[in-house]
């Protein structure tokens, strides 16, 4: 069982991706709180403030890209329990090694399969 107030943060500079992810994740059991940020700087601040269980992080973003956010989160031992899922565009798959080095757990290729997002979130939040 996941705790009632599990939080999920979505960081992506494209509003339609944020909104599609949000709409998809609303179907999760236990009504986790979904928070969004539109760039890396804002996203890192949100992650540090809210300490979510799960973060969906876009790679290509202005100000601070996904790898940098990931690396910054990983540098903070207090945030060690956060699961990070990177969102990569098709064709960026080769960057995965870099993401893994920075401490990402999983990768999802955009356009994403909503069922895959849901299954992944369920798995990461610890319910089957």
């Amino acid at each position: 069982m996941m705790s009632e107030n599990a939080k999920i943060v979505i960081v992506d500079d494209e509003i339609h991706i944020r909104s599609l992810l949000e709409q998809t994740l609303e179907d999760l059991e236990g009504e986790p709180k979904i928070l969004t940020a539109a760039n890396g700087v804002e996203g890192l601040a949100l992650i540090e403030r809210e300490h979510p269980r799960l973060v969906f992080l876009d790679v290509m973003m202005p100000l601070m890209n996904g790898y940098e956010v990931c690396a910054a989160v990983r540098k903070n031992p207090a945030l060690a329990d956060i699961t990070i899922v990177m969102l990569t565009a098709k064709g960026q798959e080769s960057d995965r090694v870099k993401g893994l080095q920075e401490g990402a757990h999983r990768f999802i290729t955009k356009p994403f399969d909503p069922d895959e997002i849901l299954n992944l979130a369920r798995e990461m939040l610890g319910h089957s």
């Binding site: 339609h16 909104s19 599609l20 709409q23 998809t24 609303e26 356009p111 994403f112 399969d113 909503p114 069922d115 895959e116």
Partner: protein, 611 residues
């Protein structure tokens, strides 16, 4: 179901309230209820703000004609009712507008997510379904999409349509006792109906179908889809559920997406399989033609592949020794089989009289009979000489003695030549001298012309030291290996068969480089080529159906091959494997006559071999 509580952000609603409520009156309480959730509440005084509570005015919010939420307002004084009504309507109208806009946005988003889902599904399925070129693997991959990962259905099956009629046969299935249940389904009236339908559909409550007689107790709902490519129905996908309402429209849509990809992949796989089959039958035709060409090699091209694959399998299984790294996949197996079947294909251009040359004087006909006839002429000459001597007054006894002596000598010469002709004995220089002296006897033909007893060509052939082939004929025979290379290198083999020519062409090469046609050494020959070579020799030694020769015994064949190993003719490691894994025995018990199979003391040949 509309989840209106997600439609508006509480922060935004709060701001809306903060901006608007001061316009009304101080001490106002307000709340927004959306779905089952109280999204925002301004209620410092702690009044009862539920709908119907005293002084509470409720404004319904609706979507698609359904109430999805309520705006609740409560004022401390009763005298401003009309104003509350007006402001409440305005606030509700604004919230209603926001809800509707969000509802519209969400339905567009849902469409987008739906296409994302389909796109992702297609992307994955195209890879999975096109991974194999085997029809069975394609339908198995299709079915796997509904089993395991997604668990859409309790049972699933693919039926394949026969090539020449409308029969559908169960190809693969999943689920408890699925094989039996789908066999039963196949006999149902419902199946007879759906198997000829052009499009797929769902029956979500089988008991309501007039064509369903409860044929399969476990099936309550059914989803089916024909697999169609190029307008041709190739098969049928059937999913079944234990539960009524087991399938949704989304399940059907998903199945349609996958099936369209699967049908194309299936069609390609079927075409590929047909091509493969045609090529293999073509290869078999060539092998049969070579085998049929001569009674000396009957069945050879059919049996050599079998032995080759048995040796290869033994090497594949070995988990120590020189063949520990040798592996065999299906492509390789196929390549070796084709190579072994075609190894002698060059023999189609070798003249029969050379292939079949059983004796030295064979030349379309065996010329020994001509020689016999000439000897008969000489015998009669002797008889004539005897009568002439008698007529000329010779003593009968001495004429008889001369005559008998001449006959004895002629018979002796002829039986000597007969023996030479078989090629079983080595021709020494004394033998050769005798052949030449016999040849110098003379005879007269019908025109009175005088000839030597043996022609030059006959002497040349009878003088062959070993076997029955003279050097020219040997070259012609050996040339079949060149023709094999020439012929095979003209075939545009696909990548998986690119080594066939090398495998086939090396079967007369020797480890020491003294073989033909190229004189390659062992390390220049691939392992499969060396396997074909051993199979070729073993088959030739043990072939049961050779004219003029008794079938060789197993121990005799192994003994000869052992000598070939010692002579560095055949690959010693392969010969050892052939013995230690008892490949010879497995083959013998399948193909050789009982009287050929005798005891082989393998340990004798394997002794002293490092482990």
């Amino acid at each position: 179901m509309i989840k209106a509580e997600h439609y508006l952000k509480s922060a935004w609603v709060r701001r809306q309230f903060e901006l608007m409520l001061p316009l009304l009156s101080s001490g106002i309480s307000a709340a927004l209820q959306l779905g089952g959730k109280r999204l925002v509440e301004f209620n410092e005084a702690g009044h009862d703000l539920s709908e119907g509570a005293p002084g509470v005015r409720a404004f319904p919010l609706t979507l698609e004609g359904e109430q999805v939420g309520t705006l609740l307002l409560r004022l401390p004084a009763q005298n401003e009712t009309a104003q509350v009504e007006a402001w409440g309507n305005l606030l509700a109208h604004s919230l209603q507008g926001m809800l509707e806009a969000e509802h519209g946005r969400r339905s567009v988003a849902r469409e987008t997510l739906e296409s994302y889902r389909e796109m992702a599904l297609l992307q994955r399925a195209v890879t999975d379904l096109n991974h194999s070129l085997k029809p069975a693997a394609v339908v198995a991959a299709l079915l796997k999409e509904f089993d395991g990962r997604n668990n859409t259905a309790d049972y699933g099956a693919v039926f394949m349509r026969a090539a020449d009629n409308d029969d559908c046969d169960l190809a693969v299935s999943f689920g408890e006792n699925a094989g039996k249940d789908f066999a039963r389904l196949k006999d149902s009236r419902l199946f007879a109906d759906i198997s000829v339908r052009e499009t797929g559909d769902i029956v979500n409550d089988l008991s309501s179908s007039p064509l369903w007689a409860g044929d399969v107790a476990n099936f309550q709902a059914l989803l089916w889809l024909p697999l169609v490519a190029d307008g041709e129905r190739l098969g049928l996908l059937v999913l079944a559920s234990r539960h009524i309402e087991g399938f949704s429209a989304a399940d059907l849509k998903r199945a349609q997406t996958l099936s369209s990809v699967a049908a194309t992949a299936l069609r390609n796989a079927q075409l590929y399989a047909a091509e493969q089959k045609m090529f293999q039958s073509f290869v078999r035709v060539i092998a049969t033609a070579i085998d049929a060409k001569s009674p000396y090699t009957a069945g050879h091209c059919r049996r050599v592949p079998e032995i080759t694959l048995m040796i290869a399998e033994a090497a594949h299984q070995a988990n120590s020794g020189p063949f520990v790294d040798f592996t065999l996949d299906e492509d390789e197996r196929n390549a070796m089989e084709i190579a072994a079947m075609l190894h002698d294909c060059g023999k189609v251009v070798t003249p029969e009289w050379v292939v079949d040359k059983a004796t030295k004087l064979d030349c379309i006909a065996n010329r020994i009979h001509l020689v016999a006839l000439r000897f008969e002429v000489l015998r009669r000459d002797a008889l004539i000489a005897r009568y002439r001597a008698l007529a000329e007054g010779e003593k009968p006894e001495s004429a008889e003695t001369v005559y008998q002596e001449r006959l004895r000598q002629l018979d002796d010469d002829f039986s000597f030549l007969e023996k030479c002709n078989t090629g079983t004995e080595f021709i020494s220089s004394e033998h050769l001298a005798r052949i030449e002296s016999i040849a110098q006897q003379r005879w007269n033909d019908t025109r009175g012309e005088n000839h030597p007893l043996l022609t030059e060509n006959e002497v040349y052939n009878l003088a062959i030291q070993r076997g029955t082939l003279n050097p020219e004929e040997r070259i012609i025979i050996e040339y079949h290996a060149v023709h094999t290379i020439n012929m095979l290198s003209q075939i545009a083999f696909p990548r998986s068969l690119r080594n066939v020519t090398e495998y086939a062409a090396g079967h007369h090469e020797r480890m020491d480089g003294k073989g033909y046609p190229r004189g390659l050494k062992g390390d220049q020959l691939s392992i499969p080529a060396r396997m074909v070579a051993i199979a070729d020799i073993f088959e030739a030694l043990t072939a049961p159906d050779r004219p003029y020769r008794k079938p060789g015994k197993l121990s005799w064949a192994i003994d000869i091959m052992h000598r070939m190993k010692l002579d560095n003719h055949i690959d010693g490691d392969l010969f050892d494997l052939f013995l230690s894994e008892k490949v010879y025995l497995a083959y013998a018990s399948k193909h050789l006559a009982a009287n050929q199979i005798d005891e082989v003391d393998a340990s004798r040949y394997l002794a002293g071999r490092g482990s």
